[in-house]
């Protein structure tokens, strides 16, 4: 049962991930990505990581993808008529470029796949005396303790990061008052 669920979730995750790239309509891409995240959450649940699954849905599903959708809709990318959607899309028309991109993707993907498949065999036996995390390692007390002791530096630094990002976004997004073009006015 669990195995079956895993295969279904994994299949959905892969198919929707492909859908994200192939969909011509950005909103469909976003919905595909959302389903991809959902199936990832299912995989986390099957592995016994409840908290991770909930955070995956909460952060990616509930917040980030909504903002994606918001931006896509606000810019009204792709329009609503499927006929004139991809006429000016260089990605699909420049054959050479898309072939090159595809080649790179296939090369990277197959290289990592070979590595992963070869590595997966080693996973069963404890390699190098290190073992994969135990089930339930994301139980809240353990997670909280790690976050506030061993990982307190990245945890606190992440808040500085968020602060800097907020400042940066404000600089980029706020409508600027009339700016004297720096430098050009005298030449």
């Amino acid at each position: 049962m669990v195995d079956l669920l895993f295969y279904v979730a994994a299949l959905v995750a892969v198919l929707t991930a492909v859908g994200v790239v192939l969909a011509r309509n950005p909103v469909v891409s976003v919905v595909s990505l959302l389903s991809c995240f959902g199936s990832l959450a299912v995989i986390y649940l099957l592995a016994g990581f409840q908290f991770l699954a909930a955070i995956q849905i909460l952060v990616y599903g509930g917040a980030i993808m909504v903002l994606f959708l918001f931006v896509v809709m606000l810019l009204n990318l792709g329009g609503l008529n499927p006929e004139d959607e991809d006429r000016d899309d260089p990605l699909f028309h420049d054959r050479r470029r898309s072939a090159g991109g595809l080649a790179v993707a296939v090369a990277l993907g197959s290289a990592s796949l070979i590595g992963i498949l070869r590595g997966a065999r080693h996973l069963a036996e404890p390699t190098n005396g290190l073992v994969p995390p135990e089930e339930g390692f994301d139980a809240l007390p353990a997670l909280a303790e790690a976050m506030f002791t061993r990982y307190s530096l990245p945890f606190e630094a992440a808040s500085v990061l968020l602060l800097a990002t907020t400042v940066g976004v404000m600089v980029l997004a706020k409508r600027q008052r009339s700016i004297p073009p720096a430098g050009e006015e005298r030449s």
Binding site: I116, N128, T149, P154, V171, R186
Partner: protein
């Protein structure tokens, strides 16, 4: 929380190790507070310089009492990372001084500019001191995100916005590579700690971890601007406001290099040759690209790629020599210190010129600068010669150290190729110098050169540093 646990993690050593980071973060908060009221805005320079100097003081304190590993072995403030920290702070300070005269006073968001600029060294220090991939990742983001914003800070210029966007998209791609690699490494080994990973690598990584390592290295090479990940460099360096370019060219490179040197132990032994080959190819790409440039800023960007190649030789040497030696790190430190002074000075002069008009960064418009602005032309000549590695400048000794470390590691062929590349590099540096001194002034308007004391002081400081490193290197080598 359990008091024992707190005492175990947050002790005096931890406070000393984190003091520079905390100082900078505190400065960031104070800068935000200073934006609340109009009169408090005047405190901004004081706060900025104060927090940089405070952090530098904390780093100097760490030089005498280095701390090996704190917070459960995730962060280290050893001597090398304290010195790296000083390099980052110097780079930030030079960028800031030039930014002060680069933007007009009336420009909005200058407070935000300083905040973002002050965040970047926090990220760099975390990258240099990281003993855990999580710490490194947050450091990388903490460095990158302010730089994305700063690169597109001049929103009235489409090149600047384009530079920011390019840097962002490619940077996000490289961060994605890093995360993918790190997750593979974690899946294969069950740890993110560099100490544990080095121990695991000594007995041989599984293929999955090796693939992960390749991805991690790829993302580092992107930040280092190594061939074939260097394509973004000319556009971004040219499009970004020049003070930001200073930070990108010197600070980012130093931070990425510091961490790359730290993780060479995780690379397979056979990779030394490959890395050295990449280094030579990078030098070739940078130098050949620079030969045909007509814009000095773009030329310096390509020269930055070439320098990244030289630095990568150190990584190869570190890997080839097997055990983790301090020699490569000290050579890297000296090289980057010299590079901060040299490139910081050269880009700083460009910022000075560019503030008066975009076209003044064309080599064409520098003709006859030697007669019109003798002091400026002399400083530029000094920086260009140092970039080219002419004796009696800091650049010469830095290159010499790198090549001697490479030779010690028995990478003779690559070292010779590197020296040859440096000779090619001289061609385009000398072309600029020739334009400044030997060609008659073009009929264009001369650079007006408003008098700017702080930019002048920064240039003088850089020039002095370059000369001292060339003539009296023992001052700096004693520190290292």
């Amino acid at each position: 929380m359990n008091p024992d646990l707190i005492a175990q993690y947050f002790n005096a050593e931890c406070a000393a190790a984190l003091a520079p980071l905390v100082t900078l973060a505190g400065g960031l908060l104070l800068l935000i507070v200073a934006e609340w009221f109009e009169p408090m805005n005047r405190l901004r320079p004081l706060l900025f310089v104060g927090s940089i100097l405070g952090a530098a003081w904390a780093e100097v304190a760490l030089l005498n009492a280095p701390v090996a590993a704190v917070l459960g072995g995730t962060y280290s403030a050893d001597k090398a990372s304290a010195l790296w920290g000083l390099v980052f702070l110097a780079s930030t300070l030079i960028a800031w001084v030039h930014a002060r005269s680069y933007y007009r006073k009336s420009r909005p968001f200058l407070g935000e500019h300083d905040m973002l600029l002050l965040t970047a060294p926090i990220g760099m220090m975390m990258m240099a001191g990281a003993l855990d991939l999580t710490v490194f990742f947050i450091g990388l983001e903490l460095l990158s995100i302010p730089l994305y914003c700063l690169a597109s800070f001049r929103r009235d210029r489409s090149e600047s916005v384009e530079a920011g966007l390019k840097y962002f998209v490619l940077g996000a791609f490289s961060v994605g590579l890093f995360l993918y690699g790190a997750s593979l490494i974690y899946a294969a080994t069950g740890t993110l700690s560099l100490t544990a990973l080095t121990a695991a690598a000594a007995t041989g990584f599984s293929p999955m971890a090796q693939v992960g390592m390749a991805f991690v290295l790829g993302s580092l090479l992107f930040k280092l601007s190594v061939w074939p990940f260097h394509l973004w460099v000319p556009d971004v360096y040219q499009g970004a406001p020049t003070p930001v370019t200073i930070l990108m060219a010197t600070g980012t490179k130093a931070a990425a290099l510091a961490f790359t040197l730290r993780i060479t132990g995780l690379l397979p032994e056979s990779s030394a040759g490959l890395i050295a080959l990449l280094a030579v190819l990078t030098m070739a790409a940078g130098n050949l690209g620079a030969l045909v440039q007509s814009n000095l800023k773009r030329l310096l960007a390509y020269s930055g790629v070439a320098h990244a190649g030289t630095l990568l030789l150190l990584v190869a040497a570190q890997r080839a020599s097997g055990e983790l030696s301090y020699e490569a790190t000290s050579a890297a430190l000296f090289y980057m210190a010299a590079y901060v002074a040299t490139a910081g000075g050269a880009f700083g002069l460009l910022a000075w010129l560019e503030a008066d008009g975009e076209h003044f960064t064309q080599i064409e418009s520098l003709k006859g600068l030697g007669r019109r602005r003798p002091a400026m032309a002399a400083a530029m000549t000094l920086f260009l010669l140092s970039l080219g590695g002419i004796p009696a400048t800091g650049g010469f000794l830095a290159k010499w150290m790198v090549f001697s470390v490479t030779l010690d590691a028995h990478l003779t062929g690559y070292a010779i190729a590197g020296v040859l590349m440096s000779v090619i590099a001289l061609a385009y540096y000398l072309r600029v110098i020739a334009a400044m001194y030997m060609e008659p002034a073009s009929d264009q308007v001369a650079p007006p050169m408003a008098k700017r004391t702080d930019a002048m002081l920064a240039t003088a400081f850089c020039a002095a540093a370059v000369l001292v490193m060339g003539v009296l290197p023992s001052v700096f080598l004693g520190l290292i």
